[in-house]
């Protein structure tokens, strides 16, 4: 195909590893491979590297190094936070509050707890994906032991009023966890100021390696272990540390948080250029999520009359990587729970497209997508019985 290029617009799924990050990691595969738990001098470098990374994560969140625990990614951090708090505090109550738009790592952990005697309230969100603070307050009972609400949504990019939620939770003495997997590097986070008790993050969303993450646990929060075994991570999370991964996470979070404003401005500019172009060139298109309170790189739109998986396949033919909330790509009959929670009818959710921009993208990428996407949408619409019906009805 002439003029075809590779355009990666799925940074919310995962990112590439930055060169500076990889370079820091490499020696810990080959030369400094010692087990951080070993006593000899050789292994001390490994131990020190982990503590350096821990300091970097703590600094990025305004936490203490002792409050950072490395995990095998975002899902493990979410599971640990939720199950760990639930089981450690079940003498105080059995009620958990979350939202309908959480990542499955949170939702399925909550559903699991429901099978073990816990009660979970899944808060609704408005058409933009925002939680209603009054509804949150009303959901709190004297049995509530945990509130878990994501910082920023992975599909529609909506950013929640985390500081306000933290304040409510702290006033009521309820533990507050936030899944900040999508927020790191995109939103300034201060766990002290925002009254966050637990926070999950994953390196592969901010140009670090996959399969490594962290859970921030505020000092004094009662939490059970999830992974039982050896005495690593101050006896809180067993398993020989993913040394290169942790080193990479440390470097990546340092880079991602050194200039959040500058990064956001650059990405937002590209995003807005793309979004405005899409809305201008493609009729019957709806923006999903909040117009302002959204991640700088996130676009989520629904094109009426077409289905998302076929859209992705065509984009792929043009070298464009994106994602959709359509049921057809999930293997189930239901489209994305997030799109349903913001009130989209099934057929509109099926036509959703998420483009998540990041450091890989340029203006040329944006212009390329704008040169390809409208034709692809039109091509699928010409094939759609829904479009045919609509056009006939209109005339």
């Amino acid at each position: 195909m002439e003029g075809k290029r590779f355009v990666y617009m799925d940074h919310a799924a995962t990112t590439y590893v930055k060169k500076e990050v990889l370079e820091e990691m490499l020696p810990y595969f080959t030369e400094n491979f010692g087990n951080p738990s070993s006593v000899y001098t050789f292994a001390r470098k490994s131990k020190r590297a982990i503590e350096d990374a821990r300091e970097k994560v703590a600094k990025a969140l305004n936490a203490l190094p002792d409050e950072i625990f490395f995990t095998g990614g975002g899902s493990e951090a979410d599971n640990w936070a939720i199950k760990g708090v639930a089981f450690a505090n079940k003498d105080k109550g059995n009620h958990i509050i979350t939202t309908k738009i959480e990542h499955h790592a949170v939702l399925h952990a909550c559903e699991y707890l429901e099978k073990h005697g816990f009660e979970v309230t899944y808060l609704d969100v408005d058409e933009y994906g925002m939680v209603d603070l009054d509804e949150l307050k009303r959901a709190i009972t004297d049995k509530t032991i945990l509130i878990t609400i994501m910082f920023a949504n992975n599909e529609i990019g909506t950013i929640q009023p985390i500081a306000e939620i933290g304040k409510i939770a702290r006033e009521k003495g309820i533990i507050f966890h936030t899944d900040a997997v999508q927020a790191i590097g995109n939103v300034k986070i201060d766990v002290k100021e925002m009254n966050i008790d637990l926070l999950s993050l994953a390196a592969h969303k901010f140009y670090g390696p996959k399969g490594v993450g962290a859970l921030y646990i505020r000092k004094g929060v009662k939490i059970d272990n999830l992974i039982h075994g050896g005495g690593q991570e101050r006896r809180r999370r067993a398993g020989t540390e993913n040394l290169p991964g942790i080193v990479g996470l440390g470097k990546a979070i340092e880079l991602a948080t050194e200039d959040i404003d500058g990064h956001n401005e650059k990405i937002r500019k590209l995003r807005d250029r793309l979004l405005n172009g899409i809305m201008e060139k493609i009729p019957y298109t709806k923006l999903n999520g909040h117009p302002e309170r959204r991640l700088p790189g996130n676009i989520n739109v629904s094109f009426r009359f077409i289905e998302g998986e076929s859209l992705l396949l065509l984009l792929d033919q043009f070298g464009i990587c994106a994602s959709t909330g359509s049921a057809c790509s999930s293997g189930s009959l239901d489209p994305s729970h997030v799109l349903l929670a913001i009130g989209l009818p099934h057929e509109i959710a099926h036509g959703s497209l998420r483009l998540s921009l990041g450091d890989m993208n340029t203006e040329e990428d944006v212009d390329y997508v704008l040169s390809v996407l409208p034709n692809i949408v039109q091509r699928l619409r010409e094939m759609s019985p829904l479009y045919e019906k609509f056009m006939k009805g209109e005339k």
């Binding site: 289905e307 239901d334 099934h346 057929e347």
Partner: protein, 143 residues
């Protein structure tokens, strides 16, 4: 989703997309709620499928199955077209992923509906198929 080359080829270059203005058998099946919908137009002359066109709202497998199914019934007798199974469509496409088999049922179902539309218009008894007996799970919706 890993599709065969044949599926991708039909998806990228679908045969028989469109409408037939003087179609004498039309069938529309599916439900946009489930993510898929197919409309098929037949032009039947002397018991032969002279022309066929389709429109499909659905995934790559749904579009490729529609394309393949219309190719397979073109020029065939009405009876032959009726007997086309979704399995045969999937086989002609060098297979479909297991979770995508239900998309190929759509084409079979739409063809049956269009043929019965033709039969009713011509004063004939509609044929009974497994779909009208409701022994398939295509539209089951898990809320």
């Amino acid at each position: 989703m890993e599709y065969s080359d044949k599926v991708m080829e039909h998806f990228m270059n679908p045969r028989n997309v469109g409408e037939i203005s003087d179609a004498n058998g039309i069938g529309e099946v599916g439900n946009p709620k489930c993510g898929d919908m197919m409309k098929i137009y037949l032009k039947i002359e002397d018991n032969i499928i002279k022309d066929v066109k389709f429109k499909t709202f659905g995934c790559g497998a749904a579009i490729a199955s529609s394309s393949m199914a219309t190719e397979l019934i073109k020029g065939k007798t009405v009876e032959e077209a009726w007997n086309l199974t979704n399995k045969a469509v999937a086989e002609a496409l060098d297979g479909l992923p297991a979770v995508k088999m239900h998309c190929s049922i759509l084409a079979e179902e739409a063809i049956h509906k269009a043929i019965n539309d033709y039969r009713i218009k011509n004063g004939l008894e509609p044929w009974e198929d497994k779909f009208s007996k409701g022994d398939h799970d295509h539209h089951e919706h898990h809320e």
